[in-house]
């Protein structure tokens, strides 16, 4: 066990965990931030996507010991009132079915738009290709990203 001071959603958080623990489980089990989802544990599905210094990152394979003072943003910290343009677009387009993968989708989409505010359809598909949606809401995901990019 070791103590880590993390910068999560703009707040300093101290945790005492095994250094190998992926940040996903620190968020979910230690900090009770359960918006970041467990899907596969091997960085294949994207359900656990967070931002590390603004870059979309799979939290399920990222050991807490590797974070240092990098800024972590989770779905809970994406906006104060749930009104990030991507979140608003997701609601407007009524994207979710079961909804489980959508936090990861939104984190990937918001990182994309941060880097590329006006992506082409192809760029959207490519950026979103790492996030599996088992319900098959891919068409609405694309539409919501497009909507957010135009807002």
């Amino acid at each position: 066990m070791a103590t880590f001071t993390l910068n999560i959603n703009g707040q300093k958080q101290e945790v005492d965990v095994d250094p190998s623990t992926p940040i996903l489980w620190v968020l979910r089990d230690n900090l009770k931030l359960v918006g970041t989802k467990y899907g596969c544990g091997i960085a294949q599905c994207g359900a656990c996507t967070i931002h590390v210094d603004g870059t979309a990152t799979r939290s399920c394979v990222l050991p807490v010991s590797s974070i240092g003072d990098k800024k972590i943003t989770t779905i809970e910290g994406l906006s104060e009132n749930g009104d990030h343009p991507v979140q608003k677009a997701w609601l407007e387009v009524d994207v979710p079915q079961c909804g489980y993968c959508q936090a990861g989708q939104i984190m990937t989409a918001s990182a994309l738009l941060e880097q590329n505010p006006n992506p082409t359809d192809e760029e959207i598909e490519t950026a979103m290709n790492g996030n599996i949606c088992r319900c098959g809401t891919y068409l609405r995901i694309r539409k919501a990203v497009k909507t957010a990019s135009q807002s």
């Binding site: 089990d29 609601l91 996030n131 891919y138």
Partner: protein
Amino acid sequence: MTLIKTKIGRRAFIRNTGLAGGGLVLGFNWLASCKMTPEQVNSMPKEWFELNGFLKIGDNGMVTIMSPNPEIGQNVKTAMPMIVAEELDVAWKDVIVEQAPLNTDIFTRQLAGGSQSIRQGWEGLRMAGATARQMLKEAAAKAWEVPVGEITTSEGVLTHEASGKSAGYGEIASAAAGIEVPEEVELKEQKDFKIIGTDRLNVDGPKIVTGKPLYGLDVQRDGMLIAMIVHPPAFGMKLKDMDAESVKSMPGIRDVFAIEPYPEDLEKQWSDGGAIQELAVVVGNSTWECMQAKKALKVQWEENSKLESSAYHDEALAELLNTAPKEAARKDGDVDAAFKKAAKIVESTYTAPFLAHNTMEPMNFFADVTADKAELLGPIQTPEFLEITLASRLGLPKEKIDIMMTRMGGGFGRRLYGTFGVEAAVISQKVGAPIKLVYTREDDMTQGTYRPSYKVKYKAGLDENGNLIAWHVRGAGTNDDLIFENRFPAGAVDNYLAEKHSLQTNVTTGAWRAPRSNFIAGAEQAFMDEVAEAAGKDPIEFRLELFDRAISNPVGDPKNNDYDPERYAGVLKLVKEKSNWTDGSSGKSRGVSAYYCHNSYVAQVLDLTMNGDTPNVDKVWCAVDCGIVINPLSAKNQIEGGIVDGIGHATFSAMTFKDGKPEQSNFDRYRLIRNIEAPKEIETFFVDNGIDPTGLGEPSLPPIVGALANAMYKATGRRHYNQPLISDKPPLVG
């Protein structure tokens, strides 16, 4: 005017909690059961009045509607309350939706399966809303001393025009709670609907996009421990021994032991499909610590039955296809004689592998079991059945078992089989603490209740004019006999023979979105295309001729046929019109398909271009007859999802076995469709016929596989017979 009775015999479907005294209070205290913000608390009515099991009306006019059925992403949590709100005649903005707990006293069929929630809930939900509205009207009539027939309602307001009196529902609610439940209530006409048939956003949307706890895996309780299981590595093996001591001292580990969730003498139900008799269990403080201990735990397994490989399943199914069963499932005319005189015969065999459900949220359940009660909370499609098994397994009366349903991160049939709930309860009982059982993705994928693997052989005979005169289908599946003998084209062909076999296997199988239909529709519709081509006819015209036959001169008693040929033909004609159907001349490769299942009719046209072996679907046109559509916005989402799901699994996915061991255990080797591979566009058209609603969550999936295969043929000149279509080889190579 539609009148509906609130009682049949002595059984009342609607009961007034006020009159029934303490006995019928919902086992659910709305205000105490969820954490709310101060703003939400301030906006709450001072007092809530329970009118019936489905809804409560507050003194400020806010209406809480309980959504009775489990939510797996099919959006019933929005749609079911919409139906109640419609008949209650309240503004949708004044409605708060809550998930009801399992309560078999009040609700009927709290189950998510078979696309039946709306169809079977339709009448009861309407009745609940209409009854409440009638009681409000009667209470207002009494208070104002006017005839009840002169009172009208609109968006939560009662009005008596002649006297100019008017009151919100909230003002009358307490008086209405004292009104006797009417024996008969009036339902609205479809033309008067204000909520049903309009686009309404998912009620859980704001929570989903902000990451609020909603799912079973998100459950947190004080003192809660995490539990994980180690299950046999292969079907046909069982636990022999384990070295628990060596991992007990690992960090954060509280206990390691074996459990027997399903002792041999326990009476199992269908919902216990896939039950494992004995498991190794690790209990600890955190998920990661449990995962480490689980990996380190040494467990010995032994064979207790045959270890089957996919090659064995493939051979055994093939053998069954060469064997006539003792009895036909359905026989009209004489196929043998018809084949003898046929001008042309077409014969093909189609196959498909096992599939895992792969809900994005792996199996999990929270349980807190003490000596005299059990509390369970988690993702389950069949809570009623879980309760029965738990009562038997824990030796507790059903009243002492509380089951609450969380929103589910996908279902697709997997959570019909609630063995994980039983496992969670047994673990909690053993450790004497509240626990959350969590499956890893690997646990989830390698201990499934898989979609069976299937093989089907078709043979069709045409006369010299290209008329279909004989149809023979023989199908076989693992633990499943595949064939719906009374579905199309039964009733449309003079000489018809349907035969079916089931191969008993150790690999556990179960319902997977649109069971059996998910394969047989694609095979049948692909074969239909081959037959139409052999007949020299347009594939839509060929099908329409058959429907005409079933309408005008059905073979056998039309009551035996599962489908209505007019509605079937209706969706096909609609999709033909909307897609500007011309076969092969659109510049894209086109396929068509139509299927009936879950009481609904779907026809699709699909355009694609091939990129090597991979189909790129440019567009899908989809015509649907599912009766009245409650919420078109989310109904279209279901249709789109079914289409993507169907294309994805048919093109890419397979679960194979080697000596009983699943060869895919995570998404690195089990391929699911991804964003780039989904169709570029899907357009959905609903038939507006005023018929009571039918299934919607499943029916768009089965036919799309046929449309895809038929379009791939147009593009490549080669028929694809074996799923996954991308390899088009019998995938059963384990």
